[in-house]
């Protein structure tokens, strides 16, 4: 049995990293781009350590349970964080050179919170970790005080504020709901549940789910998504659009499947409603978008709908497939945002039309974007297809055929707008044939995403196995 320090090694390392970054910046030892590389290196090292250090175990009082489940998520977070940091380095160094350390530190703080979430088995720890994940995001969303065009200048604070207001309101509801749940059960253990839960318990539970829905960007808590994506720095959005969603998924899984699995009828209904609404609204609203970030935002809303289908299945397979989905989503969406970022830096805007001719300017970037879009659309032989497929299979097996059919149908809408972007990238002639010169960090980051999407798309087995392992460990130890 490991001590709790050992169990939390990775999390502590990341938290310490945040402190180190701040200190190094303060004493001026390391600054500028080097901080970014340092952070990325740190995350890479922690990621590497996750394969070496044995962190499995349970903390005294059972507030934290570590195992394959937690490891899966931690790795996802670390990868997302690392790629996002890599993608941010040059943007930060050029746009906000005096606030670089804080950016990395806040990212690391948020990551620490995320990494704690999946293992938390106590409401208090879960809440604190969840908020630790969330609060830095408010700040980071408002980071772009002066980004690019003058009209975008006001979007920075707006992005942060919108995220903050919906977030704070949601967390107020969450805490209120938690009050009811904890009060009724008399314990802060998530798995604790009275033998005969009162209706109040259920209501509280649903309020908690509402709060988690906000972080996932699920309908109807999704309204911040497009606006924040538009206003926040794109490399950060790449992070925001994937990692906290994985965190939300982890939290939602923990909340629903430990102790509450007996009351699946309750939360599964809620999740099904949210999932259906998300798929429908996300796809429909994405149709008329002209800004790629907003478009990807709504598409993300829709994607979360698909994840929720799997979770709504409530089975081990469903959880595994949700994990698989979210992992693929990390690579895909992160990659897509980073390519958009690179292109927008070169062409001065994030509108779809500004992507015109990207594939001619820099073929590999155009091709990557296409691959990411196809993956998002769920086209065979790229990763996203397997994700959608597995999710559908799991849901179908669990009897959610209606949701599957809905998902299949609205996916066609999705195809339309993904193809619209692809059309702009590939078919439209751009104003210039000048190649898009992506900085090193961005290149590495996009390349990793591309390799993952294509590689795992051709051979998804390893990831499937990992997801299955994680899900089974989770459900056994819940």
């Amino acid at each position: 049995m490991n001590t709790w320090l050992q169990v939390l090694t990775l999390d502590l390392a990341v938290a310490a990293g945040a402190a180190v970054v701040l200190i190094l910046d303060a004493i001026g030892t390391v600054s500028g781009r080097a901080l970014g590389w340092l952070t990325a290196g740190l995350l890479a090292a922690v990621l590497g350590a996750s394969f070496v250090v044995d962190v499995s175990g349970t903390v005294p009082h059972g507030v934290y349970v570590s195992g394959d489940w937690v490891l899966f998520f931690k790795r996802v977070f670390l990868i997302a964080g690392m790629l996002a940091v890599l993608g941010s380095i040059d943007w930060l160094a050029e746009r906000t050179p005096r606030r670089q350390a804080e950016y990395y530190a806040l990212t690391l703080f948020s990551l620490t919170g995320m990494m704690v979430v999946p293992g938390a088995r106590d409401w208090v720890l879960l809440l604190v970790a969840f908020e630790l994940m969330g609060i830095p995001l408010y700040v980071l969303a408002a980071w772009a005080k002066t980004d690019g065009q003058p009209q975008d200048e006001k979007l920075g604070p707006e992005a942060g504020l919108k995220l903050f207001v919906t977030g704070a309101a949601s967390s107020a509801f969450t805490i209120f709901g938690l009050g009811l749940v904890i009060g009724e059960t008399g314990s802060t253990a998530i798995s604790a549940l009275p033998a005969q839960p009162t209706q109040l318990t259920f209501v509280g539970m649903l309020m908690v789910i509402a709060g988690l829905g906000f972080k996932l960007g699920a309908v109807p808590f999704h309204m911040w998504v497009p606006d924040t994506y538009q206003g926040a720095p794109t490399p950060f959005v790449a992070f925001l659009s994937v990692a906290p969603k994985a965190g939300g998924l982890a939290a939602l899984s923990v909340v629903t499947l430990t102790g509450w699995s007996a009351h699946q009828g309750l939360w599964a209904t809620a999740i099904a409603v949210i999932a259906a609404a998300s798929m429908l609204v996300g796809n429909l609203f994405a149709l008329p978008q002209t800004d790629v970030r907003r478009l990807l935002g709504f598409s993300g809303v829709a994607q979360i709908g698909y994840v929720l289908i799997a979770l709504g299945a409530g089975s081990q397979e469903g959880v595994a497939m949700a994990l698989f989905f979210i992992a693929t989503y990390v690579f895909t969406n992160l990659g897509a945002f980073l390519v958009v970022h690179a292109a927008a830096q070169a062409s001065g805007g994030h509108e779809t039309v500004k992507l015109a001719g990207l594939s001619r300017r820099t073929p590999w970037l155009g091709a990557s974007l296409l691959v990411f879009l196809l993956s998002l659309a769920g086209i065979p032989f790229v990763l996203g297809f397997w994700a959608k497929l597995f999710v559908f299979v799991a849901a179908w097996r669990a009897g959610l055929s209606g949701l599957v059919v809905l998902g299949v149908v609205v996916a066609v809408l999705g195809l339309f707008y993904y193809l619209t972007v692809a059309r702009s990238t590939f078919m439209a002639e751009g104003h210039t044939a000048e190649p898009v010169r992506a900085p090193m960090g961005l290149k590495v980051s996009i390349a990793v995403c591309l390799a993952a999407v294509v590689g795992l798309g051709l051979w998804p087995r390893p990831l499937v196995d990992e997801a299955n392992k994680a899900a089974s460990s989770f459900l056994q130890k819940r």
């Binding site: 001619r360 196809l374 086209i379 065979p380 032989f381 297809f385 597995f390 559908f392 299979v393 179908w396 097996r397 055929s401 599957v404 059919v405 299949v408 149908v409 996916a411 066609v412 195809l415 339309f416 193809l419 692809a422 059309r423 590939f426 078919m427 998804p460 087995r461 499937v464």
Partner: protein
């Protein structure tokens, strides 16, 4: 166990991968690599035809690799008689298609790459014996079309009119982007239907497997069958141009570049019909028998309506495109007859139409490339300057109208005979009428383009067929005649497969067939 089937699928894919590393300035190398990939596939398909034991029939050359065993997905490759015929068709079309696109200049590397990917998908569909892999390959075959049309296609004007005029502004109707988007979306709506049907089959198979043979052995509840069949029919049927889901086809084919039209009308549309036959008819035979009258009724509409629409077109490519709609109606009609003559005819028509329409599009492409117009009204007397094109075009026209001695006749005749023998003998009447209307419009087009006084002005120096351009007319034209005179070359394969699968149909359906 040899790996012929794996070879045939992998060859284009590998050639595509090689293309990735060929610098785009090496234009000849790009073409040669593509051609090699295509040739290997063609060679493999011929070798498959030689190795396939026609006396035994059934699935042969089996190869299996587990892909996702937990879901019952295996990469199971094998080929039946139908598959052999269609593999040959695909091999021929891709080789000629590559040669016909020798002159593509803009972004040629990507073009050939996508073409090869597409064709790998097509091959994959014909040899997959796992429903899931079947579907995967199907998607691969369908998707590159979007870029192929969207980038290398051509646009034209379609005046806004009619009750839905207001919707015109949203879409640049007639533009290549519009065509590409419409095609992709409609086909993927179809795919969505197929996906649902696939799940239904998988979920109800008991064994939770996608293995086609296991699924064949499963007796699905009739309720499930009645949901699956229409989904399969309309899902795959969209690609086969089933009325009223055919409207992607005229715009798509008209906008697509030559080789893409060749492949799409020549091979891809067959995937749709093949899907209806192989999945719909074979896996859910009871519902198929029940639905057959509807399928046939719609097919009849296709035949006649497609022909009439073609007769009203003024754009050469549209004529050919609508003729595809009409001819695919013949295929669907054959499928709906539920007897050997009809099924043989249907598959034979797939091949015949594939070759014929490939030839058509190759020639239309040649004409378009030189004359820079597809408006029939602007052409005339081209036979004086391009006699070879004129000759082969006439040949394609003749096959199209089902003249004996061409492959088209054999196919259409078998289908009509099957229809006449089947439960709804009247299907043959509109079928034959459609063939007559075809005679009217193809010959009119042929006359308008090639006959008449020698062209003056800009058209007086149009070049005839040159170098690699010879391949498509020569190969495809000869095949049309060879298969017209000696149908057994293919029928031996097709018939043995039809015999095997026909036994699965419920006796009620068979009893309706008049046996002489």
């Amino acid at each position: 166990m040899n790996h012929l089937l794996a070879t045939i699928v992998a060859a284009p894919a590998i050639a595509g991968a090689v293309l990735l590393v060929v610098p785009s300035t090496q234009r000849l190398a790009i073409r040669v690599v593509s051609l090699l990939g295509a040739l290997v596939s063609l060679g493999a398909s011929i070798q498959i035809a030689l190795q396939y034991d026609r006396a035994t029939g059934g699935l042969q050359l089996l190869e299996t690799v587990p892909l996702v065993p937990s879901l019952g997905i295996h990469l199971k490759l094998a080929v039946d008689g139908w598959g052999v015929a269609l593999l040959l068709l695909t091999g021929v079309i891709i080789v000629t298609g590559v040669l016909a696109s020798w002159s593509v200049e803009r972004r040629d590397k990507e073009f050939f790459l996508l073409l090869l990917v597409l064709v790998a998908g097509v091959f994959g569909v014909f040899v997959s014996q796992d429903l899931f892999v079947f579907f995967l390959f199907y998607e691969i075959a369908v998707l590159p079309m979007y870029l192929l049309i969207g980038i290398w296609g051509s646009s034209h004007e379609v005046p806004a009119s009619g009750p839905f005029k207001f919707a015109w502004r949203r879409f640049a109707v007639g533009s290549k982007e519009y065509a590409a988007m419409k095609l992709t979306l409609m086909l993927l709506v179809g795919s969505a239907a197929i996906l649902v049907a696939m799940f239904l089959l998988w979920g109800n198979s008991g064994a939770r497997t996608f293995d086609l043979q296991v699924l064949e052995a499963t007796k699905f509840p009739i309720g499930v069958q009645h949901v699956v069949f229409p989904l399969v029919w309309l899902g795959f049927g969209t690609l086969a141009g089933v009325f009223p889901f055919h409207t992607w086809s005229p715009d798509g084919h008209a906008s697509a570049p030559t080789a893409v039209s060749m492949l799409h009308a020549g091979v891809l549309m067959k995937l749709g019909a093949f899907g209806v036959l192989r999945i719909g008819m074979v896996l859910v035979p009871d519902a198929a028998a029940w639905w057959a009258p509807i399928v046939g009724g719609v097919a009849v509409v296709n035949v006649l309506y497609g022909a009439l629409c073609a007769a009203s077109q003024k754009d050469l490519k549209y004529i050919v495109a609508y003729s595809s709609v009409s001819h695919m109606g013949v295929v669907m009609l054959g499928i709906a007859t539920l007897n050997a003559a009809g099924w043989n005819g249907a598959v034979y028509q797939m091949v015949a139409h594939g070759i014929m329409t490939g030839l058509f599009f190759a020639l239309v492409g040649l004409v378009y490339e030189r004359a820079h117009t597809r408006a029939i009204a602007k052409m005339g007397g081209f036979a004086h300057v391009m006699p070879v094109v004129a000759g082969f075009f006439t040949l394609a026209c003749l096959s199209s109208l089902g003249l004996p001695g061409t492959a088209g006749f054999i196919a259409e005749f078998m289908v009509f005979a099957g229809a006449a023998k089947g439960a709804n003998a009247w299907w043959a009447v509109p079928g034959v009428l459609g063939a007559f209307v075809t005679a009217v419009y193809v010959l009119r087009a042929c006359k308008a383009i090639f006959w008449g006084p020698a062209p003056a002005g800009e058209y007086s120096h149009l070049e005839d067929v040159r170098r690699t351009e010879w391949a498509a007319p020569l190969v495809l034209g000869s095949l049309l005649v060879v298969f017209g005179f000696w149908p057994r070359l293919l029928l031996d394969f097709i018939d043995v497969a039809s015999q095997g699968y026909l036994g699965r149909l419920p006796l009620v359906a068979l009893a309706q067939v008049v046996t002489p």
